[in-house]
């Protein structure tokens, strides 16, 4: 995938219905970091090229970046 390819935007409808797959709790959308944050599970799921990666293995643990 080339750097110049147009970035796919995440579909707003997705943001309405997605929840954390681990806790089934709500997600916060961080548009700047392109992440969906589950406060309940302490995980941030990446959005890559408009595709939310809702995999626990791929999520960033929020404890890592407490600062």
């Amino acid at each position: 995938m080339s750097e110049t390819a147009a970035l796919r935007a995440v579909d707003p409808k997705l943001l309405e219905i997605l929840v954390c797959p681990l806790s089934k709790g709500p997600l916060r959308y961080d548009a700047a970091r392109q992440e969906l944050i589950s406060d309940k599970a302490g995980l941030a799921y990446p959005i890559r090229d408009g595709i939310p990666i809702m995999l626990i293995d791929e999520a960033r643990s929020l404890d890592d970046t407490a600062g």
Binding site: D11, I17, V19, C20, P21, I51, M54, I56, E58
Partner: protein
Amino acid sequence: MVHQVFDRRAVSRHQARAAGAFQEFSFLAEEVADRLTERLEDITRSFPIAVDLGSHGGLLAPRLRGQHGIETLISTDLAPAFAARSRGPAVACDEEALPFASGTLDLVLSSLALHWVNDLPGAFVQIRQALKPDGLFIGAMLGGETLKELRECLVDAEVELEGGLSPRTSPLTDVRDLGMLLQRAGFALPVVDTDRITVTYGSALKLMQDLRGMGESNAVLERRKTFSRRNTLLRAAQLYHERYAGPDGRITATFQVLWMLGWAPAENQPQPKKPGSATHSLAEALGAQVCGVEASSPLDDTSGNG
């Protein structure tokens, strides 16, 4: 604790590997997607929000766009690289841990993805919960008779040459289990049936190559970490040819597809009545006379007409 049969990381890896050249091997998935689309044609209600669970790069989206009142069709795959191939909204997610809020979906479709799931009852429960009341689930998964020819030949070749067995092709679900699983997961009016797709190949080695191409390599956890011995595979291919080749020298491979359909329960759905609550007798409705047990069998009555 669910017994872990499948290595989900291996499943994801196989799919990611297949994502690149999938169109060359997608005939089976395409065929099942076509059949699934046909089945949906029999149902008249509209489904604004639909999910294609395990979409193989969004196979259903082009077939269903603008059909059945679908406004949003979300394609999901376990491997992010597969999800990225689909047009329209896509999500990478694990069928065993769905990321959909409860009561948000009108329709969940799943074509050839659920046979890799360890916790099938758990997946069904999560699908049912994600559906709105009266939401519909239609799934197709490979059944226990899939690739029975190949399994048999691999087993025999391995016993013959290596003096032992290792789990080689994946265990699959039986059609009889499915209806019960759907019911236990809380689906109303579940329907299960089976379909068979026969494919012919030049050789069993080509078949094995194709399975890899489809992202369907063996993902059994206990699979050997070393590669299969080439001799064993060759012997299996030879046995396959001896037993299953047609007059033209090509071999056949059978894929069994299990179809399942269920509705999320809703008040307005047809409900079974309580026993004994009928107000008219069945005989009356059929215009028949009620016979005593001594009466001759109905078969005898009609035999004169045939």
